[in-house]
């Protein structure tokens, strides 16, 4: 088991403004799985992601990532944890506007001693011809690809995606989801995707549905639907676990 969350509780505020956002949330995610966390606004999805990402403290419970307990770590230790284990993809891309695509990716490449090959990553994500452009010169989909490349360059074990398609149109969203699918297959990256998008739950390994801070449903997909029709290319010929229309694991 790569990620284990046990009886996680998180609240905000005091007195009249007290709100319990997460109530005894428990879940497990296998290594290499894509897991989507769904729920309505205010259900606690992003808070759960923040807690797993070491960006927010918890009131009680435990979070174990790759055998290491995250709860109770100090700020420096949490920073090291994010640096070594995690990659982040945000809804609004959050690229540095004054850096080129390549430089934005190098922001995370700088953090690791053994990054992925930048050229290969640019090629996989279809950014080679855009590497010297600035974010303002890119479309939304291209910016999100750049953000994904930035997250992946340090070869993280766990990729946390907070509404990765939230700011994109449907066609571009499909492209990004296809990309995430490919990345998961190629690099074996465990992914936690928080989203409102209902269509995503059919393409992932595991679905977690949050309601009022509690797990309402938690199941694995026996049959996954690919995000789009992907034409296999040569680089995928060997060792690829995905085929065109359906995936049997």
């Amino acid at each position: 088991m790569y990620l284990e969350v046990n009886d996680l509780c998180k609240s905000y505020g005091e007195g009249g403004s007290y709100t319990q956002v997460l109530k005894n949330v428990s879940l497990e995610v296998h290594q290499g799985d894509m897991c989507v966390i769904q729920g309505t606004s205010g259900s606690g999805k992003s808070t759960l992601l923040n807690c797993i990402g070491g960006l927010d403290t918890v009131d009680s419970g435990s979070i174990v990532v790759d055998g290491k307990e995250i709860v109770g770590l100090n700020a420096k230790q949490l920073s090291d944890y994010r640096r070594e284990e995690l990659g982040f993809v945000f809804q609004f891309y959050d690229l540095v506007p004054d850096l080129t695509v390549q430089e934005n990716i190098q922001v995370c490449q700088y953090l690791t001693r053994s990054p992925l090959d930048l050229g290969e990553l640019l090629q996989v994500l279809g950014l080679t011809e855009h590497k010297n452009k600035f974010p303002a010169q890119l479309s939304g989909g291209q910016q999100q690809r750049c953000a994904i490349a930035r997250a992946l360059i340090k070869n993280p074990r766990l990729l946390l995606c907070d509404e990765p398609t939230g700011a994109l149109d449907s066609k571009t969203s499909r492209e990004i989801l296809t990309l995430l699918e490919r990345v998961n297959a190629q690099y074996g990256t465990t992914m936690l995707i928080v989203t409102h998008n209902n269509a995503i739950k059919n393409m992932v390994h595991q679905v977690v549905l949050l309601k009022d801070g509690q797990i309402h449903k938690n199941y694995r997909n026996e049959v996954r639907t690919p995000a789009a029709c992907i034409t296999p290319c040569r680089s995928w010929a060997s060792g690829c676990r995905a085929c065109c229309w359906c995936m049997h694991w």
Partner: protein
């Protein structure tokens, strides 16, 4: 004046910002301004760290220029204080060095015979105007080989003089130029050709051969009214106008330094305080503008030390290189302006700094930056990833 400046800033800066359309404000659109174009230039094949620092610097070019402008103004203020200190110190030193005699007796009623052990001279006081001030110039007639002015070799002509460097500096004359001086008592102007300039900075002196000077002013041969000696002479005080000893000169010249030192210290401290405030505010603005990016870097796992290298170390280079330019520039400009401040002082102006003083000033600038750096690192430390987490629907 301040309300006028405030009104001008309001009119020029704020009105321009408020003239944007509501839609562009909603969209937070950024115009492809000259500044943003500069920040996007191709930086070639630099590695990530210098590349990031350079981008940050290019993005905040205006703030960098503001820092350099503030530094230059603070250095100008500092140079006022240091020039004053150096001026007084040099005056003190030169006065002691250039006073080769132990006693100078100025006669009211000169005797026929020169006192034994004394060297005679003839002194007259003339006037000239400098920067609107009337200054007394002592014209000294000396005999050839006078031991108390060994560098002076006046010609025998009554139209030619040797001038002290203080006179050359004050009135802007040099070798070969004509110097016109006024005799206020007799209402006569004298025009002298300068044959040489000797290094003498503590007083305004011009030198002539004593015989030629006697002829010029219609005095008898061997006339004198001043006696220099290296020991005390037995002269009836009723015959003397004034007696000046070397000790008197040393004490008097030291007074200048004592009088001006509080002002020197105050202005120096003021310039340092202003520099610290300007530096802190400008760099703080740069950091606050980058707070979102800094927060993002912390989300990715950057520690405060790494963020400091990315966002603050570039400013150190700006300050270090800027100081190399601003210090000599400020010194040069103040050396041009300073004579106007002391235009009513009847002495030469030596404002040269010893090399060590430049090094101390440079070290001081860097020390000020490092102090501000220390304060701002704490600010960086307080920035959390929370800023990024707010940016979501």
């Amino acid at each position: 004046m301040p309300p006028v400046i405030a009104a001008a800033v309001n009119c020029i800066v704020i009105r321009k910002s408020l003239s944007r359309t509501a839609l562009s404000l909603l969209r937070s659109e950024q115009k492809a301004s000259h500044a943003s174009r500069i920040s996007r230039i191709d930086l070639g094949h630099l590695s990530f760290l210098p590349r990031f620092q350079l981008r940050q610097l290019l993005r905040e070019l205006r703030s960098a220029f503001a820092v350099l402008g503030g530094m230059f103004i603070c250095l100008l203020v500092l140079m006022i204080a240091l020039d004053c200190y150096v001026y007084c110190d040099n005056f003190n030193r030169r006065s002691i060095l250039e006073t080769t005699y132990e006693y100078c007796y100025t006669y009211k009623y000169p005797t026929e015979e020169v006192p034994e052990g004394g060297t005679p001279a003839y002194a007259e006081t003339l006037r000239q105007t400098s920067y609107g001030y009337d200054l007394d110039v002592t014209m000294l007639g000396i005999d050839p080989g006078c031991p108390y002015f060994p560098e002076v070799a006046p010609t025998a002509k009554k139209s030619e003089v040797v001038i002290a460097s203080s006179v050359a500096q004050k009135f802007g004359v040099g070798k070969g130029d004509v110097l016109v001086l006024r005799d206020e008592v007799n209402d006569v102007n004298y025009a002298f050709t300068v044959t040489d300039v000797v290094h003498y900075a503590s007083e305004l002196y011009i030198f002539m051969d004593r015989d030629a000077m006697q002829e010029l002013f219609g005095r008898s041969d061997d006339y004198y009214n001043t006696v220099f000696s290296d020991h005390a002479l037995d002269i009836d005080t009723g015959l003397l106008y004034a007696t000046v000893s070397r000790q008197n000169i040393e004490q008097a010249s030291a007074v200048f330094t004592d009088l001006m030192m509080p002002m020197v210290i105050l202005v120096s401290v003021l310039s340092v305080v202003i520099f610290l405030v300007v530096l802190y505010l400008m760099i703080k603005v740069m950091i606050d503008r980058a707070s979102y990016s800094i927060s993002l870097l912390k989300v990715f796992g950057y520690c405060t030390g790494e963020v400091r290298r990315l966002y603050l170390d570039g400013n150190f280079v700006v300050v270090a290189l800027g100081a190399l330019v601003c210090i000599p520039a400020a010194k040069g400009l103040m050396d041009i302006i300073y004579p106007y401040f002391v235009s009513n002082v009847a002495a030469g102006l030596e404002l040269s700094f010893p090399p060590q003083l430049y090094a101390v000033i440079y070290a001081g600038v860097l020390a000020c930056y490092l102090l501000i750096d220390l304060v701002l690192v704490r600010r960086l430390d307080r920035m959390t990833p929370a800023e990024v987490l707010k940016n979501r629907e």
